[in-house]
Amino acid sequence: MKRSKKTAASVEQHDRNDALLKTRFEATIYPGRNAETDNWANDLDVDRGPDAEGRVRAFITVADLVRLLDRGLEVRLYRAHPYGPLDPSLITTDEAFKSWLNEKISTIKANPGPKPFIEPDN
């Protein structure tokens, strides 16, 4: 009994660690104390996204964070995103989709369209 409790706790801890390792953090990265060149951001090896102001902005993992800090870079974290799929409430339901499509297609079917300027070739 004692042994199985310990196992359950360790499994839970393992799952928590696994989840943490897969978590992505929204981050901005700055050259910090060790930037040697103007091209310091060209080989960061992180999942970058565009930034309207041209800042170095990325989704990073814990492993990325440790690596970047070891390089002497400065990292600011803004938010953590647990690993997982898109929120299902953001996916169009089949019912809503069919209703939208039927409306669009009925408009298309209801109108013959103009006689083309140049007749089709076949």
């Binding site: 091209n39 090896d45 992180v46 996204g49 938010r79 997982g84 298309i108 109108n111």
Partner: protein, 489 residues
């Protein structure tokens, strides 16, 4: 809300079923996980060798909005054409004539969801997934970035381009150029269909982008260019100071069209998109992209047609802590309207009235006319004003010409003479008869236009034409390049 892959496919299938005279579906290479990848062609009426535009979405899986926007745009265009209505998104609108000319003079190709495996992964596994689902041999790591896998400066590494399949960058270049079907489909479409304009739609930040991505763009030194640079070695750009050449004419065209697209997006609800080169997005080399590949084709192989290649980064940057929401907003509808407006304007900008009559109807090249325009009018601001004037009135005048058989025949008889004069623009002089025929044609157009500004503009053209007898096209255009063009809107 975002549509599943099955729903996106169902939109394409329903359009083909309900309007087969306008919509053609083709199946491209299946995805890595063997999902079907559909492309859709919209075209009304006939004519061969039409100008073509290719719009691509969903190359990066987590950028969810764009496949939805593209299938909605397809339905909107078909519905607007069939009902002879115009099209409007917020404050941006196009008349029924605009829609008709787009649908009847162009082949509009759409590849709404280029990377269905990735979209499936986002919806069912990892919301931040960006690549395809390639099982990379010898590793436990999946995925190749299809927008780093094209045969252009492939394996030249940079801020978002890496050779390690296990990197968290999500920018792995793949095992060979075009090893990935999702990227190869772009190559396939460009090889098998006439594509004059291309747009790869990404998110986010509100940018309208154009080449180059691997290096800053310059307009003064044609050589050395990318064909002489080292690639394929997983090394950074060499030399790092390289700047890639683009002709002034092409740069002007990119900036002109991108500005018109940006203005139309702004008209929807006031969003202020910014023009940039692809290189400027990350401030470092971005290689193996679809847009650079598509534009570079005519330079790597001069036998190929030039394609002007754009990219959008749709949607605003919502700020730190809201990056995921910038990629996947809970309500993407306003952003999709911006995107659709930008794309319709890009389609509109792809129309060329002279080329439609010359190439599609008469089967002749209009290259001498384009060359005279590019070389004599484009270099000056006043000259560019004349190009813009023609661009702004061409859709209305083309519709007038095409709707009247007599006028169509008159245009068809005039165009070969204009081509001859343009081809020999330094030698052959315009005759009294040329002037007379030209004025007669313009007056016929003027009598049919219902737009006062267009009528006034035609009067200005006629006044210039009256002085043209005895002059070469070179001399006439040189003079125009120093004259004010009519102001329209």
């Amino acid at each position: 809300m975002y549509r599943s892959i099955e729903q996106l496919n169902a939109v394409i299938d329903s359009l083909v079923d309900s309007a087969p005279e306008l919509c053609t579906r083709i199946f491209l290479n299946n995805s890595v996980q063997n999902r079907q990848i559909r492309a859709l062609r919209l075209r009304a009426g006939g004519g061969t060798n039409r100008r073509g535009i290719l719009i691509v979405g969903g190359m990066h899986a987590r950028e969810l909005m764009n496949p939805d926007a593209i299938v909605e745009l397809a339905t909107d265009l078909v519905a607007a054409y069939k009902s002879s209505n115009g099209l409007a998104y917020g404050g941006a609108s196009w008349s029924s004539t605009d829609v008709r000319i787009m649908m009847e003079t162009l082949d509009i190709w759409m590849l709404p969801c280029a990377n269905p495996d990735g979209r499936n992964r986002v919806m069912n596994g990892d919301k931040l997934w960006r690549m395809n689902l390639r099982d990379n041999a010898g590793t436990t790591c999946d995925g190749v970035d299809p927008n780093r896998n094209c045969d252009f400066m492939w394996r030249v590494v940079g801020p978002t381009t890496v050779c390690d399949p296990c990197s968290t960058t999500q920018g792995f270049v793949g095992s060979l150029p075009f090893s990935e079907p999702e990227a190869n489909n772009i190559h396939l479409l460009c090889d098998t269909h006439r594509i004059d304009v291309f747009c790869d739609v990404h998110s986010f930040s509100g940018f309208v982008l154009f080449p180059w991505g691997h290096a800053p763009t310059q307009t003064t030194q044609p050589l050395p260019n990318f064909t002489t640079l080292l690639m394929g070695f997983c090394r950074p750009l060499d030399p790092p100071s390289h700047q890639e050449f683009m002709s002034t004419s092409d740069k002007t065209k990119y900036e002109t069209v991108a500005t018109r697209v940006k203005n139309k997006i702004s008209a929807v609800r006031g969003e202020n998109y910014v023009l940039k080169t692809i290189f400027q997005v990350y401030g470092g080399p971005t290689t193996g992209t679809t847009s650079d590949y598509v534009y570079s084709r005519h330079i790597a192989n001069p036998a190929l047609r030039k394609t002007f290649a754009f990219a959008f980064e749709t949607g605003p940057d919502l700020g730190f802590g809201r990056t995921l929401e910038s990629f996947q907003p809970a309500n993407p509808d306003p952003i999709k309207d911006d995107t659709k407006a930008g794309l319709v304007e890009l389609i509109n900008q792809s129309v060329c009235a002279i080329e439609f009559i010359g190439t599609t109807i008469l089967g002749q090249s209009v290259e001498p006319i384009s060359a005279a325009r590019d070389e004599l009018l484009e270099p000056t601001e006043l000259g560019r004003g004349w190009i813009e004037f023609v661009d702004n009135i061409q859709v209305e005048l083309l519709a007038i010409v095409l709707s009247d058989r007599t006028l169509t025949e008159r245009a068809m008889s005039l165009l070969p003479r204009v081509q001859e004069l343009a081809a020999q623009r330094e030698k052959t002089t315009v005759t009294d008869k040329d002037v007379e025929s030209g004025i007669e044609f313009l007056e016929a157009l003027q009598s049919r236009t219902k737009t006062p500004e267009v009528s006034d503009g035609i009067s200005t053209v006629i006044s210039h034409l009256k002085d043209a007898s005895g002059q070469t096209v070179e001399a006439i255009l040189q003079k125009l390049a120093k004259s004010d063009s009519p102001k329209l809107y």
